[in-house]
């Protein structure tokens, strides 16, 4: 019998495809997310917009909250660790949650190394701004990639940039530049050849960072995302329950404008949002060397 293999880790990511993963801060929100049709919840103490507002070091969530949320819902539970904080990852593994996000939304723990994700039994998702960053994370063992975007801004411009960047760099690979790209991206030639041959990342690729409306989710899906993370977009809005449902519907009906029009109606106000050039901290720039 095989356990904790890469096939099983990426298999769980495959089951999440086409779905919406929602940030939640308590049991009540986790239940709202599940009832709205989320495929998984990301449990954390502060959604990214609050982290921006309040500042300070942000860390892994209190295990007590994780246990409560795990008990309250039947969908997979994810939680975040700081970049490079392998002990936070060990703790999450001991808590037997389903998926770990090594996340730039939290304060970095190590500026030199990311967590060696292959050493863990649980699957990891990691953020990326471009192809090189995505492939470095995958070679460390990530079973799923998401764009970084700019979390907590309600502004999708960065998520769009990152997805386009990954796609254009995949497109630009050729047999002629294979070796130089492997060197430039600091990854193996094998993984580059795989991407060249299959014209995609080797793992399921979601978008994250700034998604706030059904239209945002649908746009990312039309652009080729395989699913959507919504962080602050739901629980920083005026009517989370209605908005959560609408974003799920929009993600599944991403190519049907009539349905998108219907589900976009009367959602109350979206989170207020921020311009990227006015941000004090850019989460997306956080990557260990």
């Amino acid at each position: 019998m095989e356990k904790n293999t890469f096939e099983l880790k990426s298999g769980l990511a495959q089951m999440l495809k086409g779905g919406v993963i929602m940030d939640v801060m308590n049991v009540e929100q986790a239940k709202i997310a599940e009832n709205s049709g989320a495929v998984a919840v990301m449990a954390l103490e502060r959604i990214p917009s609050l982290i921006r507002e309040q500042g300070g070091v942000s860390r892994m969530t209190d295990p007590k909250l994780l246990k409560e949320i795990k008990k309250a819902v039947s969908i997979p539970v994810m939680a975040k660790v700081r970049i490079g904080h392998f002990v936070e990852a060990q703790i999450l593994e001991a808590l037997d949650i389903d998926f770990i996000d090594e996340s730039e939304v939290l304060t970095m723990a190590d500026e030199q190394f990311h967590v060696m994700k292959d050493d863990f039994k649980l699957p990891f998702v990691c953020g990326a701004r471009n192809l090189g960053e995505a492939l470095r994370r995958i070679e460390e063992g990530a079973a799923m990639i998401r764009t970084k975007g700019e979390a907590g801004t309600g502004n999708i411009v960065e998520a769009v940039r990152h997805l386009r960047q990954i796609q254009s760099e995949v497109h630009d690979l050729s047999t002629r530049n294979l070796s130089s790209k492997a060197k430039e991206y600091r990854v193996s030639k094998e993984i580059i050849s795989w991407v060249l041959k299959n014209k995609r990342l080797p793992v399921v690729t979601f978008v994250a960072g700034g998604i706030a409306t059904p239209a945002d989710a649908a746009m990312m899906m039309q652009m080729g995302a395989e699913g959507v993370f919504v962080g602050s977009g739901i629980f920083a809005s005026s009517n989370p329950e209605v908005r959560a449902k609408a974003i799920v519907q929009a993600t599944m009906n991403y190519d049907k404008p009539e349905i998108l029009a219907k589900v976009s109606e009367n959602l109350g106000s979206a989170m207020s949002g921020q311009e990227i050039n006015e941000l004090a901290v850019k989460f997306a720039e956080r990557e260990a060397a």
Partner: protein, 175 residues
Amino acid sequence: MKKVGILALQGSFAEHAKILEQLSQKYIFVRSKQDLENITHLIIPGGESTTLEKLLWEFDMWGHLKNKKLNIFGTCAGAILCQKLGLDIEIERNAYGAQQASFIAELDSKIFKKLQGVFIRAPKFKVQNKKIKILAHYKQAPVLVQQNNFLVASFHPELRKDTRVHAFFLTLNSD
């Protein structure tokens, strides 16, 4: 005439499609009530069953599925939906536990020799109805069962290259 659809709202529908392609079987992706009109066989993929069920209700497809008596192949989450659509078995969701309990193992089966099952946060089936055919076991527990128009697996045949279970599904009531 046999016409095959794959429910493509959420989950591993692309993986099922790949297997049908290997079998040279044409298919459509089912994403609305209208798509259900013209098919005889439907695959309900792995995914999140709570999510899939809600979407089927919201897209007004549930009633259709219940009345239309399609041949349905449900894998993992899809199996849970088949039970809700009338398959007479009991299902315990996430019966093995969270992700760390997920596993791959060889199954006991007379028809599918050396079949490997990929179990991800898998459910467990309990079969009491004697008319239900158990096609594969793992550690005495039924993992692949068939009753009339339903075929369900608690594992994910769509994640492997083995096409035998899909080929079997395509033979159900397909004259």
